[in-house]
Symmetry: C2
């Protein structure tokens, strides 16, 4: 059974303010929780789950010394943010994504300039993982990494990609000789540009790359549209997918 | 002022069942409504908007003989599905997307096999528009085109791309000699495959392409991942973006 205090504690973590204050976040869903436990990247505070979940994953819960609170499905429903909660919910310690030392970029890294949509942010991390891009840097105004919709959209890629919130100035200070590409609407045709390793800047969904960052870009690149009076732009995550694909193709084929 | 009946009528159109029954749907937002009025692709039933909207767009409303109901911002709020309604809401007649005669595909067409997420569906239509793909076919179980989240995600591309719900059998009957590509996890490396015009099948977010359709695919293609133990797949819209980009590049560069 779950205590009133723990219920209150978990419900509080559904809001960003409390996640920030306590430096904890929530992961929901059987598969993703087991991935979190297995990966050792994050420290698990505790797992709250059904008897069925406990029986199924007894070995790994035991071998990783996970603190486990057994609850009924009804109790789980009350603390879950999902309409159909999935056997368990984990409370996880955040990584300090703000003050990690910034290393030199090797290969390709992404810099997200104020990506606001959680689905876009999450799928961009999934794209990075797919193409072996291990570093995703974000401006301070990029949406919160531990928002449940972001976590969900990463589909576990959050465990394999390093995400760091850092100003572009600080990042470039450590990467003086790195090429800085930017996805813009009137840059060089990406299919005709010889792409090399570097940092790729992806801008905000509505406003694109902000003015101060635009000035730091050496290589503006564009996915040309086939239509003269067609859509004005692509969705930010879709543009990012195409750009990462084209970098990957040129560097590996 | 808005009548009780019209209020009720509009509120009803927020549900798919009523949109289906009345063959009407709702478009919200100043810019997209003007795009709908300008394009002539859809017949506008009426526009409900503020005095400010009417003054700003008086000419086009008049020249296109649009029936206009003036309301206060408070009234607009009551009939809108948005938290911050944007000056106007339009009631629009659906196109008959189910029984359009199926023509032969020229160039590239997409076939969506049960895309369920409205955001994915909408951005796929936007991707198609970007790359000059004018035909998007969908299985009957693909999400509803007139769902407000789909409309929003198309960002107006719905006005420039033809969307038709049709079984793959019927589509292929009219396209006997057309290549059928399918996005799968273990097909031919897309970057090494010589891509030609044809139909590209994109599968459901969780299950990929369904078994009966898989059997109809001549050319299974895959975006190879750079990692052995990385993400299992890409988001369906992101995969579609990369595939359309690679077709575009190979056919035009």
């Amino acid at each position: 059974m779950i205590s009133k205090n723990l219920t209150k504690h978990i419900l509080a973590l559904h809001s960003k303010k409390n996640r920030d204050e306590k430096s904890l976040f929530i992961v929901e869903g059987e598969k993703i929780i087991i991935e979190f436990i297995s990966s050792d990247k994050y420290k698990i505070d505790k797992v709250v789950g059904t008897n069925q979940f406990k029986s199924k994953y007894f070995e790994i819960l035991h071998s990783k010394s996970i603190s486990f609170i057994e609850v009924s499905e009804d109790e789980l429903k009350k603390i879950s943010s999902q309409t159909n909660p999935n056997q368990a919910l984990a409370i996880v310690h955040k990584l300090n994504v703000n003050s990690s030392p910034i290393n030199s970029v090797t290969g390709i890294a992404l810099y997200l300039d104020d990506i606001r949509d959680p689905g876009n942010f999450g799928t961009i991390i999934r794209i990075a993982d797919w193409f072996g891009i291990n570093q995703v840097f974000c401006s301070k105004n990029t949406t919160e990494l531990y928002n449940p919709k972001v976590l969900q959209a990463t589909m576990g890629a959050i465990l394999r990609v390093n995400v760091t919130y850092v100003s572009i100035d600080l990042l470039l200070k450590e990467n003086l000789n790195t090429k800085v590409y930017g996805a813009v609407l009137n840059g060089n045709d990406i299919y005709k540009t010889k792409l090399e390793n570097g940092i790729i800047v992806i801008g905000n969904e509505s406003n694109g790359i902000s003015e101060p960052i635009l000035n730091l870009i050496n290589d503006p690149i564009t996915i040309p549209s086939s239509k003269i009076n067609g859509s004005e732009s692509l969705n930010a995550a879709n543009a990012c997918a195409i750009i990462c694909s084209e970098f990957h193709r040129q560097l590996n084929y």
